[in-house]
Amino acid sequence: MAVSLRINGQTHQLDIDPTTPLLWVLRDHLGMTGTKFGCGMALCGACTVHVDGAAVRSCGVAVQDAQGVEITTIEGLSPDRGHPLQKAWVELNVPQCGYCQAGMIMAAAALLKAKPQPTDADIDAQVDNLCRCGTYPRIRAAIHKAAGQAKSA
């Protein structure tokens, strides 16, 4: 089936099984491997992207349902690693293996867009992706730091 997607400001036309999860379309068909496969059941959040600005777990979205919306992946978050969250992540040396971190950053970016000065409770509720390395204390600190930078900027 012919499918048309808007991703990071560009239009992509594909002929594809319409039930294919958006995750695998991004990774296998479009070569955007920053969005990760972790569980396939929308449980872990490693595949988090933005759909019209909201954080969505792309493994749980069939590609046919991802048409007519603006999708943003980690590759489109900033042109130069310049998003306040990306900068805070490096400054606070957040990652260990790093596999979950793109999804974490996407979840956090959606949160900051909706709520520029989030509380700890907001972070708990909105950034509930899995990090098996256990970097949660640093993720929380980096979100607050990025929020602070945005405030002072």
Partner: protein, 739 residues
Amino acid sequence: MKPDRRQFLITAAATAAGGMALSVLPEAADAATPELSAWLVIEPDDTVILRLPAPEFGNGAMTQQAACVVEELACDWAKVKVEFASATRDYTGYSVYSVVPQAAAFFGGRSTFLMRVMGLQKVGATARQRLVTAAAAEWGVPVGEVTAAGGGVLTHAASGRSLRYGQVAGKAAALGAVATPPIKPASKWTLLGKAGPGKLNNPQIVDGSLTYGIDVRVPGMVYAALLQSPVHGGRLKSYDAAAVKGMPGVLAVVTVDPDEGRGVAMMSNAPYGYALTAPRSAVAVIAEHYWQARKALEALPVTWDDGRGAQWKSTDQLYDAALKALDSDDNVRIEKLSGDVGDIAKAAKVVEQTYLTPWCDQAPLEPLNGTALVTADKVEVWHPAQNGQQAFWVASDESGMPPERVIFHQTYVGGAFGRRLESDDVRMVVAVAKRFPGRPVHVIWSREEMMRQGKYRPMVAAKLTAALDETSGLPKAMVARQASRGHYPRFADTAYFMGPIPNVRVDARELANVHVTPGPYRGPGYNSYAFIQETFIDECAHGAGADPLDYRLKLLADWPNPGWVKSLKAAAAGAGWGKKLPKGVGQGIAICGWGLNGAAQGGTCVAVVATVEVSKKGALVVRQLDAAFDCGRVMNHDAVANLMEGGLVFGLNMALNEEMTVKDGRMVEGNFDSYPVLRMAQAPKINVHFEGLSGADRYSEMGEPPVGPVGPAVGNAIFRATGKRLRRTPFLKQDLSWS
């Protein structure tokens, strides 16, 4: 975004373009820029390319290795790029990267063990000496008058001349052998032993460009979805490939037969051997895209012969067998015997309890995967290995190619925790790919497939008996009996059994009939015995009417490593140990050590105080963890803090949540719904205290140590909050209510 050199790692190999810095064979090394050594290239623009053998799976090994080289090389840290050294080149180059007889560690993840640190310092110092010698020749001055004081600049003070490393690197590479100059003492370090640096690969992590195994893209690549015998040890009975051959994208249905012959007729140098890498009976669908393969696999009619594992109908049946085995001394193996435990059960004051820890899955977030291209004369592998040398040899064994025909590319690794160490995953990838030769096959385990086809932290049952001294209340004799399948529990390596308790007997029974496959899991053995031992000691303290902290301090008073007592005191001070707490709130303490290997001055100890709150209905909140540790000294303060924080969360999850169960021989849990992992909201406040450090002259491991004592600290805190003693994990499957 401009691709950086590290991104070329895969694409360069993939296009077989040659000329890229991560070459796979010595003759293919970057022709434009000669090497200063196999480890080191300096480009004319001063970029320093390091080729380092340790994998990077969150341990920070890559950055730490680079820091060890740069401390001596005296170049600009911002100009450093790191690539993975080639296991193929190590073989064809006569152990050029595993330069001391500890090869397993060289291609493994440990970054600060002494032989590696010394080897890396020598790499940096020798390269610096080459640059100095080349500059001296350029200027026609004595070598001794040229200095390399930092920033990648060579200076001749007398004439005021200077050169950048990149300007003389070519000439330096062409020199004959130079003597290695003296290595800086730690007191002169400017990079090591400091607050940082942060991970070199952080920028590529935060923009999603880092290439993990699952991100490998090779021209012509196809995808495979995998299904292995749902009962470990079972065999494929039948399948109907015709039923799925017409589905979109499907190219082939292939099988993996563990009973067929395989191997190469030569002596292997695989650090962990091949026995642990045995393939499982499997069927795989190969398709143009992964989702096509996955859908076809789900539609594929398959039947299995479950084998003897099917005799185990339930987890309880397995637990009961393990507990029952504790009462028999058939086939018992004595692991430690010191002093005389006498007839311990007849002592005046006896404490005896039985404990059980379940199977746990490492569950790294990147599912098992790998890519292999098998052709008539070679096998090429792109893989997220935990030990590249092990994976290299397993690829040789499975493909039947002699090792010089194995081209191995290490990728970044999305978590390992032991699961990727033995390289059974590489074997499976090559086993599938060799049935579809001529095209690179990218095999991806689904989360369910990975979790149910695990190599788990072994289930351990243990019974501990202590005779307490009637005056001091301390254990004067202790017997530890254990039963498991898997060799990991090692009570014999705990501090208490190395002197503080004078009379000790430790034995072990192997549960030979259990089919569930064991494997290394972060802190093998330690991750079980820390819980068992530190819960039991708490019970001894309670039996003696002693404060749990005081009791441990007394028990360790004459222990020759002062880091243990310091760590206990630092964790307790940080947590405000001893303050009055309301009912339902409690603090518990635990300490354990990893990697002692029989030496009081070895390894790393971690002491944890957990502060918990338990509602009357049994809802548990772990409010805070205070941890202190002694690994001797630290090379990178922030990297150690990060590993401590993460390791505490990992260990907490192990104690609270993790249990793989069995039904009709099959592993039940398959994803993060049934096998939960802590999320942000459940992560406690964590305080890492550095006041436990003894300053002893060693840099012991930091990955495993925090995992052990968290669980018992929380369990002991639950006891103090509620009066309920937990002798099994996971805690959250147990009734914690109180009144």
